[in-house]
């Protein structure tokens, strides 16, 4: 989407003021630890997104951009801390500038302030993964499958998919449960209708028989058939509909409830016994629940057992069979837990259906009590009915069922003590009412019948709708699962293929047949890698830590390629390349160049040699790389570029700051000596700790370059190339002159290289030292491209070159 053209950073993190010209190219920033490299990455990330991963990620409690984003000396002046980024929008082919202050990270100033630029920035802000730090790498590789799945899902923003799937599943379960409820309600309303009509089936002729008998008595037209809109009380006058109280029906309702009361004590007895037994087991063995959660993990482990080491944690076992038995025992335990959960929900649903039946019996009596002004009894029934509804809700969730054990083990219906006498008294009051005339009985009979028929019809409609909803939800959930699985499998296959390709490209010398395999399971993502064609193993099983780090980088690149495709135009790799071991750095550079030609990598490394290797490999150039040699709280990172280092030293001397100038020169000499020793194959006395002093490194470099120029002159002579010979001789002579100049100041140099005492020099003493070294180092550079010279091939040099080949001397003498 975007590339970086340049950045101006002021008072952000450890940086006071810094300008970098990225030129939309891959760019390297090198320097020792603590010199401000990561501060640059923080600043770029902040400029683009308003965030700084290092201050907002895990383990950063107590840190914030507002408090810790500005330079420590500007904490009270956060307005002074800002980043100005010049970006290039690759698709639009134009540039924009973003200025973002630490004091208002969410309100960047964007020029031009148009929608396209804002959209590009919004997309970048959505993807903090464009910044990868060293500590981020291993989270892809050395984690258990469930965690890896989470990390990768997080990177690919798959959590949205999981969330949608989860919501669909929950919806499906709720609608399934709602359907079960409406089914039970239909049954309850059907029973109420049958009870009132005093018939045993709802066949049309039975129903119309009892209804038409009352209609005839009332001289109302006979109903010829029962249709969906038939009204049983059709034709009754409004006056006649004033009350629907039917004494006989009311007594039947009261009796039905009283009769059922006798069964209440044994209601759902078998289900209650089973659910209490299940809860007792769960209570006595809490590991059952934990086992249920671990089940998928163990299943995967069991399928991976190939030897006496646990594929999940690498713990050693006596043999594979013993390990398998152990896992099978665990699996058997979790299978037990799964069955237990199923059993709890199944019995909970059965008990719920009984509750609906009880509530169905309570409802008409409650309505009667309310209609007859029996307030106290009506309140009692209302309270009990509400309690039963709450209980029914709880029986739909395992965690809530667990809390019901005490109630379920006792008189779980919790019939109010006043219920039985209340019902008895109410029935007596109903009985005491004068018998209704045949006409009134017929009127109220028809009215109640119509009310209950309507309830039943509504119940059936609700049940039908609930069934359609349930079927729709199930179809949607099942479809989503299938589509998701297909897509993710395709995704993982793509990533797995790219990951393997990238890793092979880096390790072509010794792992050219490397392959990797992702194993997506529900909620987890296993990763196995081929180890020298001996089989597939978890990355940590046999590969070295360096190789595992390399895998992390490759997996990151594979994921980013999949995530962004051609829009992967920018990546900030903060000290990540150190994960690639020394022997494979050129291949890594080649990988970035060939596989990601259009991606601008901003790469930091604390290894300066690595930075030079990036240049040698052509990944970056002198113009697209920068080195910091040190950092101070007052200055921020001190840039080490050939032009600027001498300007910086001269500037320090001008201000009389010999100590600063001396420090900068010494750093530079140390850096260049090590670099040149590597580039031209100098041989200082070997040190196992790799801690070479300037005093031993620099002389060996000078000795080596003299040998090389001698070889170049000899080779040119052997081939009869007089011009080349003269040039080699001339360069050797210049080197000798410059070396002589340094030697003239040897008393001063010695103090530096042996005692580090330049800091005590005066300005006049130190200036000639600086001049001498500047000229000496100039002998190792190309005037045209400004790069350092190097020999190639390194093991047995055949030529001496620079990056542009402006310097190109043959070192092989013609055979005689």
């Amino acid at each position: 989407v975007i590339k970086l053209e340049s950045v101006h950073i002021e008072e952000v993190r450890g940086i006071r003021k810094l300008d970098l010209d990225f030129r939309k190219e891959k760019f390297a920033i090198s320097g020792p630890n603590g010199c401000g490299k990561s501060g640059v990455i923080d600043a770029i990330e902040f400029g683009l997104t308003g965030q700084m991963g290092r201050l907002t990620g895990r383990g950063t409690k107590g840190l914030s951009i507002s408090e810790h984003g500005p330079h420590v000396d500007k904490v009270k002046f956060p307005d002074a801390a800002f980043v100005e980024l010049r970006i290039y929008l690759t698709e639009l082919g134009r540039s924009a500038t973003i200025t973002r202050k630490v004091s208002s990270p969410k309100k960047p100033k964007i020029v031009p302030a148009d929608a396209d630029v804002a959209a590009a920035l919004a997309e970048i802000a959505e993807h903090p993964e464009i910044t990868l730090s060293c500590r981020d790498i291993l989270r892809f590789i050395l984690v258990e499958p469930t965690k890896r799945s989470e990390e990768i899902q997080s990177l690919l923003k798959l959590e949205e998919i999981g969330q949608t799937r989860g919501a669909l599943n929950t919806a499906q379960n709720r609608l399934q449960s709602a359907h079960a409820t409406t089914t039970a309600q239909v049954l309850s309303r059907r029973n109420a209708l049958l009870l009132h009509l005093q018939i045993s089936t709802l066949r049309s002729e039975d129903l119309l028989g009892v209804v038409n008998k009352r209609r005839k008595l009332l001289e109302l037209a006979q109903l010829p058939e029962l249709t969906t809109d038939t009204e049983l009380d059709a034709g009754l006058s409004t006056t006649a509909k004033a009350s629907d109280f039917n004494k006989e029906s009311a007594l039947r309702d009261a009796k039905a409830l009283a009769d059922a009361e006798a069964e209440f004590l044994t209601l759902a007895k078998s289900e209650i016994t089973a659910i209490v037994a299940d809860l007792t087991r769960l209570e006595g063995d809490p590991s059952l629940l934990a086992a249920l959660q671990r089940r998928p993990f163990i299943e995967r482990g069991l399928s991976l057992v190939e030897g006496p080491a646990c594929p999940l944690c690498d713990s050693p076992w006596q043999n594979a069979d013993q390990l398998r038995d152990h896992l099978k025992a665990k699996l058997s335990k979790s299978e037990e837990a799964r069955k237990l959960q199923e059993s709890l929900l199944k019995n909970g649903t059965a008990i719920s259906e009984k509750i609906i039946r009880v509530a169905g019996l309570l409802a008409p009596v409650l309505k009667l009590a309310q209609g007859q002004g029996e307030t106290e009894f009506a309140q009692l029934l209302t309270g009990w009915k509400t309690d039963l509804e709450t209980l029914r809700t709880k029986l739909a969730a395992v965690d809530k069922i667990a809390a019901l054990k005490k109630r379920l083990a006792g008189s779980w219906l919790e019939i109010p003590t006043a219920f039985s006498p209340g019902l008895k008294a109410f029935t007596e009051k109903l009985n005491a009412k004068p018998d209704q005339s045949a006409t009134l009985d017929a009127q109220t009979f028809l009215m109640t019948a119509q009310i209950r028929l309507s309830d039943y019809r509504q119940g059936m409609r609700d049940n039908k709708a609930a069934d359609i909803a349930r079927i729709s939800a199930k179809a949607a959930y099942d479809t989503y699962c299938v589509v998701q699985e297909d897509e993710l499998n395709a995704l993982y296959e793509e990533v797995q293929k790219d990951f393997s390709t990238f890793y092979r490209a880096i390790n072509e010398d010794d792992e050219s047949k490397f392959t990797a395999k992702f194993t997506p399971l529900q909620g987890s993502l296993g990763l196995d890698v081929n180890f020298y064609e001996r089989g597939l193993f978890p990355p940590a099983a046999y590969h070295s830590e360096g190789h595992q780090d390399g895998m992390g980088v490759c997996l990151y690149l594979a994921l980013m390629k999949r995530l962004f495709g051609k829009r992967f135009t920018l990546s900030l790799l903060d000290d990540v390349v150190m994960s690639v071991d020394a022997g494979h750095r050129y291949q890594f550079c080649k990988l970035l160049k060939t596989q990601f030609p259009d991606t601008q990598f901003i790469i930091t490394t604390h290894d300066r040699l690595w930075a030079e290797q990036m240049k040698s490999a052509g990944l970056v150039t002198a113009k697209t790389s920068i080195a910091f040699h040190s950092w101070t709280i007052d200055t921020g990172p001190l840039v080490e570029s050939d032009q600027e280092i001498w300007e910086e030293i001269a500037g320090a001397l001008e201000k009389g700051k010999v100590e600063a100038a001396a420090g900068a020169l010494r750093h530079h000499l140390e850096y260049v000596s090590r670099l040149l020793a590597d580039q031209i194959g100098a041989s200082p006395q070997y040190r196992a700790d790799n801690n070479y002093e300037l005093g031993e490194m620099l002389p060996s470099v000078l000795k080596r370059i003299k040998e090389i120029w001698g070889k170049a002159a000899d080779a040119a002579q052997s081939w009869g190339k007089d011009g080349e010979k003269a040039s080699a001789v001339e360069r050797k002579a210049l080197l000798t002159t410059c070396n002589g100049a340094v030697n003239v100041e040897q008393w001063a140099v010695n103090k530096a290289v042996h005692y580090n005492a330049w800091a005590n020099f005066g300005k006049k003493d130190f200036e000639p030292v600086v001049t001498a070294f500047k000229e000496l180092l100039g002998c190792f550079r190309c005037d045209s491209c400004d790069s350092w010279i190097y020999v190639t091939p390194r093991a047995s040099p055949e030529s001496l070159r620079c990056a542009c080949s402006g310097i190109n001397f043959n070192l092989k003498t013609k055979s005689k």
């Binding site: 690919l156 923003k157 798959l158 949205e160 998919i161 969330q163 949608t164 989860g166 919501a167 669909l168 929950t170 919806a171 709720r174 609608l175 709602a178 709708a465 609930a466 359609i468 909803a469 349930r470 079927i471 729709s472 939800a473 179809a475 949607a476 479809t479 989503y480 299938v482 589509v483 998701q484 297909d486 897509e487 995704l491 962004f564 495709g565 829009r567």
Partner: protein, 58 residues
């Protein structure tokens, strides 16, 4: 470039439409919900699936 979530959502809706198991009106509401970009709650799905086929006419 559509996100993976969007890709899955598009294929999901296409497959549902082809299967004819769900009313087209509900599919359109699902499309709108999935395109909204917000975190979807189960209640929102319940509401859509619970609607009577044929719209508001009862």
């Amino acid at each position: 470039m559509p996100t993976l979530h969007q890709q899955i959502a598009d294929k999901f809706l296409a497959k549902l439409a082809a299967s004819k198991e769900i009313d087209t009106g509900k599919i359109e509401q699902l499309r709108a919900l999935l395109a909204d970009g917000k975190k979807i709650k189960a209640d929102e799905f319940v509401k859509i699936f619970s609607q009577l086929d044929g719209g508001d006419i009862k």
